[in-house]
Symmetry: D3
Subunit: 322 residues, 6 copies
């Protein structure tokens, strides 16, 4: 049985060196990223049997994405675009403060925009323990939104735990569109990841993080709400209990993928025990508190690595938590 | 007075190292290219006062293109696309034989496709000695074709020498479209650059290179026809005389921009003498034979440089011709 | 059903830049190599379902080897050494002539030396179409030789085609030891890869390549004998017929893994048609002549890539053969 | 009309990597620097029409300097030295503390030392809004000092605002020489940039920064005195008013050119409004307070870039000030 | 007369870039390290006439070690292993926190393990002012321990000051073995370097650093005990007087070799005055307090350099101490 | 006793990458070169006890030169210039043909120009077996010429074999000056290295290489004349016998230092047998023919290495000659 399935877009990230800008970099470091790609890669590195579903251009760059996933032990269910389709690219300049981060998102016309549910292997979702999609995926196109809804429906019917990572950036969608998407998807969702900013923008929820999480959970009947707040701190409300974790202190080399590593490690921890009573196959606990802690450690490790490098090892996480 | 104006698209070239592939390169070397950008850069390096006209996205990447031109002493007349417009990109793998060259052209949706003649400073073309466009530019979109025709018309009325570099690749356009474009533009053209392959594909001209060049010139009333053939050899028919030059032997580091360097140096040489009787301002001859020779030397130099590096120096050309 | 299983050792290759030496290189490029690792990686890239069996140290370097194989789509059946075990390393200087190639092989004490057949998943060999081992593997230790013999026996009993790549270097073993190993293994072997040098050193076979291949085949009852000779040319004797192929001309970036790419592509081609009458699942022929041709193309491609990069694509091979 | 003219020397900076020393660096990163070159480059990037005057050797390195300026949109008025003249070079080691910064200044015999006012296009200064020279330029040779005085005289007569950046390092000149130079130049100066250290060394001014600035302004009849103090904080006395700005916090990648970026941005801001009543052509205010603030932001940005990279964008400055 | 002789092993360090891991680094930076190699290199850079004794494999890597030492002005007395002997290697990943440092020590079977006292030039120790060995050297093999004891005996008889740097890591030896080694060697030792952790692990000494140092000195009759404690602070007890020094603040690029640089600078300072009454040949004091201070400065400098770069200059140390 | 002493200048070579130019290289590879430095480095690597005499600036760059020599096992006798003195630098662009090689020599004002014989340790020359100077050294300044003459005189009186490498480039000196220098030095010279071009320019010797060598030897009473001709071929006339060697074929990475490696290996071979009758201490012959052959092999090896890397190993030479 598959442990975790992610559905979403892959982006080729082209990163300028730290002391150069998009306008004068002579070299760009290349890597594959994407919220769900990152989450399943982290989960795979922690022992989960993971699958990633998407639509890609039939080009050396599209095939590079599949090789990237495969290289992290993740199986892929991909439909291929025709000759004209593109791979989304993002150019990244990540300078020290106060220069900070500048990105050029070059996604329009990407093969993923025309993803179509009937062409994807929905059976993989049916047989999985968990299924995960992040907000920006839904915002990519009408087809992307429809496919997400369709796969969430499959998950719901099959008893697959459905996870949704609600993020909100003006660049992705406006508040009304985000709200409508949430309304369509929330009935299927079991686990919600959300930030205070998204809760505020989409639902007008404001104030104490714990209360926000409680309110979202109660209002929507979620099994679990995980709310990242502050600078890496997180809390979860699950079974009416609140679990909290502080960010693991450390140095930031690259912020890319850090949140996704958190999500992936959270799921991998929860999964490890899905066939037992509170203890994972490897003897590690699988409760929500442990999942938060392992998520925070995974995020801290990913933060020390350049690009969307989120394939942290269980040994490295154990070392931090000891 | 401006010497040479080019109109066309700029492309961000992202090049994998020689022993890596698009699928596994960790770094891509970045540079700006484009047939007319290359030609005016070469001409500028050889002393011509040059201008480049185009449409670009209003982004750090679009501004990088302007900085690149400016950095080679070329003034720019650019209209800016809105937020969604892209910059065309090309991913290049250039391996040794038998692996050879693989490119991914990612141009659809680029800002240039919506270039519009009325927004460009046509006065620059009126006041220039020479105006140059290459075939692929016309093939980019209907607007690009219409703008080219409009600017050729301006050149023609103003007495500006109009230069067209007819290339033919299946990937750019089909034969019928290319033929139609030529029919629309040829009445304005004074100098034609053409390859035997293009002559064959577009006009069915076949056989001896000299005869092809003569035929094209006679049929269309061109002032000059320059025909590159073999592997870097070239000939020109001008005033019913034939001039020939052999390729300058040397090593190939990167083929990109080599032909454009030839075109740029040809124009720069011809221009140097536009205000004198057969001798340029710098004492160098300006006849067609010399222009061919300097074109071939510029091409050989560009061939030793990575990417679209075509800014060869007059001293380096002199050294080869001595 | 698994298509191809390889058994052997992995080596961490540390390569100095082309204009530096082992004594003054400031950086070493790192990669994983090994004759059977290379062969199964090539085969996997060409569509074969491949598995690699070995023994590795339980360290970040040992895990790197598994990640490398997995990253090329190859499943692994690995037993882990204890804390003290090492990963074999090879330091490589590959300078231009007359400086040439210098290597430091640092293999003694490697985990692989203590490989033990009962700990390996022999069932994988039973269920595979083909099983492959190269000569140097046998020469590594008594345990490695015994394990090879044991796995060949499993293959033989299960009807799995057994492939042996006999190489001979003084540094690996002496002639007597090599001869004894061959005597023990040949009864199980179906396909033999051999060089004229090895045939001479081990069997005293000398003279015309075709006659050598015939003699080896007749004497030992092999199904197929593939003899690489000259500088990349190869011939095969199969069903009493001789097939020949010339080396594909091209440039040499790195000789490492080139022969293994040949072997991997040969097997992948033969496999493609194992369930059909002379034509592979993808419509490509599967006869020995085609396997030789695709092997030679794969070798030529691998030769243009640094290190043990042997994961050539079927499209690239098709392009060469067209 | 030209906005800003700078006169001074260019230096080829050769910088060792951060974890290497001058004695063991295998590579040096190369770039062009110089106080006035830096100031006009920053000003040009912020929209000023800028010119740089100097004397250079007629060599590929001298021509590299012109290309550098041109590449940043700055026109050059350069006289060329003969064959023997050198380009000043500076070798830089910039290690973390406590290793810190070590430089080898290799300037003696440089072409600039023999700069001669009559050979420079003084008309450019006459037609400019502002003219700027930094102290070390004057200290380079008697000819450099005489040329500076001559150009200041031209500026004064033409009503061009004359700016002088008084710095003091023992390595450049002794206190008496500096004082004499100031006495000669101050009658022409309108805007003085000065540090507390220089004020102390050259004029014996000590104590409260505001009082120092007031005293210098009153004593010499300057229009504006800008005094950088503390670690990036600055104040200006202008029209008897005091304006102050705090350093923009951030990370230091390289200190080179940071002060010059401040000067360049100060001038560019003041210039933007030179043809209007208190508001620049781009709608930004042009008062001294705004000039200080934009100077501090430009300095903070330059600090995040390696070498003399001071070509910060107006957008980046706006982002900091928002 | 030789100033300082070190005896010990050399290791080839292969270091991944800061944002990569042992499992995915494409390049490893190579360098030679080893506690005594480092100490004599630092001492040599500070003017000491130094020699290093060891056993190495007769390979390009072994010869690289000799070239490294020679390149730092250190003479070598080396016996060569036969063909099979290895050079110890250490793979290093040094990531930011919380990822931190991971090493793979690959030392077993190294040529040094079979070092044999009679083959080393003991006369060099007899004629030296000081002789130094570090704890891990003794822990490498029985032969290494026996050779150390033998050379300490030579030193003792010749009146050469014998220095021992007692370190303790579980990975090197267990407490009992370390204690036995100390018991064997301490009778010969004049100067002991020790950490509170080692004092605790080996002798059960706990508590106040000064008391620990006093106790060790009194119990064993050492001339000097130097105890590094805290994070770079150190104290020495010598002639019943206590000398203390604080760590020099600064940035850490690489921790490797930092302690050895301290030891080397301590000895070099003490040595400088060995032929005078309290003042070195270069006019610098040679007392224990100065040796501590120069040791701390050398350590702080080494900390800013990548790898085992410990060849700090006397000028750099003077600059810190001023 | 010292085997070989060289006297001459050291230059810091700053080399652009192969596909970049002096005008656009972002990085320069740094290294130390110089004809005599190169010759003694090669000789030292082949076992000679070598010393290098020179004058250097007292700066991190000057000290880098000493470290470079020391790092190749060569002792140095250096006098130090004062603060203002420079180190000669050479900027090198070495592109493929037809771009070819461009250098900027920046030597004027270098510390070496003021070298003064009385400050150098002439005793080293007295006690040496061989003493070597190259032509460009003499051309550097009057002091350099006078010092050379003085040291040759010392060598002559002490019976030290004096070697002179006469090269001729217009850039170094004119023919009359070169001829005068030769007239002054030749009475002391025992071994002359010369090219046909130099023989022609300085002595008007033309025609057959063997005859040129004979004539020079007879006219000047040299012990040996070594004449490099063609493209790496060489001949020597010694004891009225002619010895010849062909260039060793191979690839050229960098031409720098290749001839010096020939000279160094020639001397090292001749030296090896200086205390025996025709056979060197290591059993290798020491005759002129062998010296030529080993010189040619050393040159071929140096040709495969970037920069002035001339420290070839005896093993590598043996491998070529076998």
């Amino acid at each position: 049985m598959t442990d975790l399935v992610g559905f979403g877009e892959a982006t080729l990230r082209l990163r300028a060196g730290r002391d150069r800008r998009l306008g004068d970099a002579e070299q760009f470091a290349a890597g594959v990223g994407g919220p769900e790609r990152n989450a399943v890669v982290t989960a795979s590195g922690l022992g989960a049997d993971a699958v990633w579903l998407s639509r890609l251009p039939d080009s050396p760059l599209g095939r590079r994405v599949v090789a990237d996933l495969r290289g992290h032990g993740v199986r892929t269910g991909v439909t291929w675009g025709d000759g004209d389709a593109r791979l989304a690219t993002r150019f990244v300049e990540a300078g020290p403060e106060p220069r900070g981060r500048t990105t050029v998102d070059d996604r329009s016309g990407a093969a993923f925009e025309r993803v179509h549910a009937p062409n994807l292997p929905a059976g993989v979702v049916q047989e999985a323990a968990r299924f995960h999609v992040a907000g920006p995926t839904v915002a990519r196109s009408e087809r992307a939104a429809a496919t997400t809804e369709s796969l969430f429906e499959v998950a719901s019917e099959a008893g697959t735990t459905a996870s949704f990572d609600l993020r909100y950036r003006d660049a992705d969608w406006d508040e009304a569109t985000a709200r409508a998407a949430c309304e369509a998807l929330f009935p299927y969702v079991d686990v919600l990841f959300v930030s205070p900013e998204a809760a505020q923008a989409v639902f007008g929820e404001d104030g104490d993080p714990i209360e926000i999480a409680h309110a979202l959970r109660t209002d929507n009947g979620f099994e679990t709400v995980v709310l990242g707040h502050g600078d890496g701190d997180a809390l979860a409300v699950h079974d009416d209990e609140v679990h909290e974790v502080d960010a693991v202190p450390g140095e930031t080399v690259d912020e890319a993928g850090v949140h996704d590593a958190f999500v992936g490690a959270f799921h991998a921890t929860r999964l490890a025990g899905s066939d037992s009573d509170g203890e994972g196959a490897d003897g590690r606990p699988t409760d929500v508190g442990t999942a938060l802690a392992r998520g925070a450690a995974a995020a801290a490790l990913a933060r020390t690595l350049a690009g969307d490098a989120v394939d942290v090892s269980p040994e490295a996480i154990d070392r931090i938590l000891d």
